[in-house]
Amino acid sequence: MTDWTNVCALSDLVPDTGVCALVEGKQVAVFRYGDGETIYAISNYDPFGKANVLSRGIVGSIGERPVVASPLYKQHFDLSNGECLEDDNVSVEYFPVRVENGVVQITSAVTA
């Protein structure tokens, strides 16, 4: 059975922005994509800038892919799978997310 960690209320997330959550010792960047219940979670660590900042990047789309742009050097990461769009060899961890009764929940079950 998966362990889900309660992170925050959905209403704590301003549409199209991110926050950072601590989930089982890991720094997770949590994004609300649009103003509905679409939530994504990837690692908060920017492998290029080597700092925990991805939750503070700008959320958007490249083609059909939902992305965040690193606030440091602007590389794009696919929110749904952690892939870096600029460099095939780089990706960051991503995490399953769900919204239960208005609460955002994340699990750190291994995905990447």
């Binding site: 992170v7 926050v19 601590l22 994509y33 700008i58 958007g60 789309s61 606030p71 440091l72």
Partner: protein
């Protein structure tokens, strides 16, 4: 081989151009360059001389500096006139007795103003208009005069009249011929020019032959005319044409034309061996060329001749083949142009005339007998067609369609008939100041230039008088198109618009959210390009709190937490210090905050203090304390007004003329918070010593005895640009009015992340156009621009004050939304008494150390 000695007599525009060409040549090391000037300064821009009266200084007009000559290895002797030439021993002697030998001697002695032999012409307030020293005399004389007369209604005479008018004198122009600018204009053009100039308050007297200058009754002098009439005036400026300065050549046996001028052949060689003459002293084909472009052409020919014959030992590739004397200029604010055979002297010439007394426009085309070729033109009041017409004539092209359509105004939706630049041959000269051809521009584009700024840098086109800017851009665009470079100015995949277009859409539709813009005009979810751009535009026009829920997602890295993100994800904090003036108490408060939060502290270039290393959760605490001490956010994180740097000004400084600190504080407080396409920096200097370095800022203000001078679009940093002098003698209110308009026009029309310097480089029409928009309100938008600015000013808020007062917003200022822990990735070491982020190597050592513990 020893270096060849080249002596240039005269350091005017053409002499300087020759030296610069030689010094920049790949063979520069073969030559030793020496120049003598009888003037007390090195070459300056005589074409722009009248700017001296609108505030430009001798330094502004300078074409070079002593340091530049030193760097180029050019020896220069000022105040040193060459008084004799010995062509046999190849030496010259100067006024101080100095003797120098030469291998080649270049006479670039220029011309002197012709003063008609009128009895009484040598009195104290009878002056000429040629050198900076003359201008100084005119200024001094104008101070003790009420009325001034210019003798001569030609091009220079009208410029001189403008100078007298600018000096506040009741101004008259006295001309011997029946009309103004008799050489360049026909009767119709001359008549309209006269009407326009008289409407500006300058009295014009034609067909007047001055017989004597005697003491006046009302004024200092009285000029008596041959027809029995007279005119009283306090000063007289002679501007009745130029004469070649050929005295030296004449005295030492070099051939001179019957009416003066040193005779030269197609290589600009004089009758004496190894002696050349260039510029206004040279007589080629029986003609003296009184314009700068032919002079530059001669300089080029001689430089080529010397290099080819002395170094390459080849037949010289270039020769002088005469020059076109077409001109386009603005005289007393009136646009005037003359092309080719303006007087229809060619046999069988036909003409087309368009004359509009209401709009005050006169245009005349002179065409060949068969109506197919353009021979000449006269344009007064509207010179838009100049570029097209000139190219038609110079390249001997067939006139496309009906010739009349070239001068008729566009009716209804019809596009005015222009000349497709593709029709021009590659050899067509686009920029006459720097002799840049269509082919040169095309080559630059092929070499990678794709903006006007690039092309200007690469070719110098449009950097002289600027008259060819529009044509240069057309050539560039056409070349880009033919290269298949789709000039795609879309800002990103989500919007098929430029920033300027988006700004117009948002302003006209009155949008206030990204959602409205993307739903109405874009697609997708936005990105880090379009979101901050639209966020900035919305902020420029609406000036709402940038962290409002629907605006926050648009904010870039720094704006979203109102701090400057550093490499490790922490922030730096910069409180506003308007004008760089700060009380000791505020300084102590900043120091205490820095100490409490252990922030690395550094003074910035903009006269304020930067505190580094603040974590997200610390930012609100830091700002609560700073706000309590009376400080405000400095917007160091925003694309917005940064600082207004100032010197201490007249309140303390022995040299200060005006109170620069008070002005700097007023300006900073007025424009703080203005979001713009890029950051904006100001400076205010209290005198012309310019300690605040205002001429390297987007907006620079310098105090003078007669008011503020306003400079615009300067830049320091990566691509320095000297600011342009925009207006002078401004009072406080006019200064602020102009700055309001310039800034808002920039906000409306600049590209994304385009500094004012690059904006200016790419602005079609350049500085003159900006002046027309801002000073003359050519577009009729000044009221709107001012209202927009007034709204921004009146809705200012300190974003940090709003934030610390909003519990909802403060929630975001913690590293984790669900835990109180800090970011465990941050590591610091101490250096010179402060902390800084650990380097990669230090991190490894520190982590090992911690693990051992």
């Amino acid at each position: 081989m020893s270096k060849k000695r080249i002596i240039v007599v005269g350091n005017g525009m053409v002499g300087h151009n020759f030296l610069a060409t030689m010094a920049e040549s790949e063979h520069a090391s073969e030559f030793e360059l020496i120049t003598f000037s009888e003037e007390p300064r090195l070459a300056y821009d005589r074409v722009q001389l009248s700017k001296y009266f609108s505030g430009a200084t001798a330094d502004d007009l300078a074409l070079t500096t002593e340091a530049e000559y030193d760097d180029s290895g050019i020896t220069y002797l000022k105040n040193e006139k060459v008084v004799s030439i010995d062509a046999d021993s190849k030496t010259i002697t100067t006024s101080s007795g100095r003797i120098e030998g030469y291998d080649k001697l270049i006479l670039a002695t220029g011309s002197y103003p012709f003063v008609p032999p009128i009895p009484g012409k040598d009195q104290e307030h009878c002056l000429v208009y040629r050198t900076i020293e003359d201008l100084e005399d005119i200024t001094a004389s104008a101070k003790v005069s009420k009325t001034g007369v210019v003798v001569g209604g030609g091009l220079l005479g009208l410029e001189a009249a403008n100078a007298l008018k600018a000096a506040g004198l009741e101004t008259h122009v006295v001309e011997f011929a029946p009309r103004l600018m008799a050489v360049q204009l026909d009767e119709g053009g001359g008549k309209l020019l006269r009407r326009k100039i008289e409407a500006l308050g300058v009295s014009v007297h034609t067909e007047k032959n001055t017989t004597e200058i005697v003491a006046g009754e009302e004024c200092r002098y009285r000029m008596n005319f041959a027809d029995g009439s007279f005119l009283e005036t306090d000063m007289i400026l002679f501007s009745a044409g130029i004469r070649p300065q050929d005295e030296l050549a004449r005295e030492f046996g070099i051939d001179i034309g019957p009416r003066g001028g040193i005779v030269v052949n197609d290589y600009c060689q004089t009758s004496a061996e190894d002696i050349y003459a260039i510029g206004e002293c040279a007589l080629w084909g029986g003609m003296i060329y009184g314009l700068v472009a032919p002079g530059y052409q001669m300089a080029k020919v001689v430089a080529n001749h010397i290099t080819d014959t002395l170094v390459k030992l080849e037949t010289p590739a270039l020769s002088f083949e005469g020059a076109d004397m077409s001109t386009k200029l603005k005289l007393l604010g009136v646009d005037v142009a003359s092309i080719g055979d303006a007087h229809a002297r060619t046999a069988g010439a036909q003409s087309f005339v368009f004359s509009d007394d209401i709009e005050e426009v006169y245009k005349r085309l002179i065409v060949s007998a068969d109506g197919k070729k353009l021979l000449g033109a006269v344009l007064v009041g509207d010179t838009e067609a100049y570029g097209t017409l000139l190219q038609l004539m110079l390249n001997d092209m067939d006139i496309p369609g009906n010739p009349a359509s070239l001068i008729l105004p566009a009716m209804g939706d019809e596009e005015p008939v222009g000349l497709g630049v593709s029709a021009l041959p590659d050899t067509a000269q686009i920029c006459s100041c720097f002799d840049v051809s269509k082919g040169d521009i095309a080559a630059a584009v092929q070499g990678g230039c794709c903006t006007m700024g690039d092309v200007k840098d690469a070719t110098k086109a449009a950097t002289g008088c600027g008259g060819c800017a529009a044509l240069t851009k057309q050539v560039m665009d056409a070349e880009l198109e033919s290269l298949g470079v789709e000039v795609n100015n879309d800002i990103c995949e989500h919007f098929a618009y430029t920033r300027v277009e988006l700004a117009d859409i948002i302003r006209v539709k009155g949008y206030s959210t990204f959602k409205e813009v993307v739903e109405g005009h874009g697609k997708g979810h936005g990105c880090e390009i379009c979101k901050p751009t639209i966020g900035s535009i919305l902020a420029s026009f609406n000036n709402e709190y940038v962290l409002k829920d629907d605006l926050m997602p648009l904010q870039d890295t720094n704006d979203i937490f109102l701090g400057n993100m550093q490499k490790d994800g922490t922030y730096s904090v910069v409180p506003r210090v308007p004008g760089g003036e700060i009380t000791p108490d505020k300084l102590i408060a900043i120091g205490e905050v820095a100490k409490e939060f252990d922030l690395y502290t550094k003074i910035t270039g903009g006269q304020r203090i930067d505190l580094f290393g603040a974590q997200l959760h610390e930012l609100p605490k830091i700002w609560e304390k700073l706000i309590a001490a009376g400080l405000e956010t400095g917007h160091a994180y925003g694309k917005s007004l940064r600082t207004v740097k100032s010197c201490v000004g007249s309140t303390w400084c022995r040299y200060g003329v005006l109170d620069s600190v008070s002005m700097a504080i007023a300006l900073e407080n007025r424009y703080k918070g203005l979001r713009s396409p890029h950051k904006i920096k100001f400076a205010v200097s209290g005198c012309t010593r310019e300690c605040a370095e205002a001429q390297s800022k987007d907006i620079g203000v310098i105090a003078t005895e007669t008011g503020w001078s306003l400079y615009v679009c300067g830049n320091g940093g990566m691509r320095p640009r000297h600011a342009d002098l925009f207006a002078t003698e401004l009072d406080d209110d006019t200064l602020i009015k102009y700055i309001d308009r310039v800034l808002m026009f920039y906000v409306r029309t600049a590209d994304k992340l385009q500094r004012t310097s690059v904006w200016m480089e790419n602005l079609e029409g350049g500085l003159d156009y900006l002046k027309e928009v801002v000073i003359d309100d050519k577009l009729g938008v000044c009221d709107e621009l001012e209202n927009d600015m007034t709204r921004v000013v009146s809705t200012y808020q300190c974003e940090w004050k709003t934030t610390v007062e909003s519990p909802e917003k403060l929630k975001r200022f913690s590293h984790f939304i669900n835990a109180a822990e800090e970011d465990n990735n941050l590591l610091y070491v101490r250096e010179r008494g402060q902390r800084r982020p650990a380097t990669e190597l230090e991190r490894i050592e520190l982590v090992e150390l911690n693990e051992k513990r």
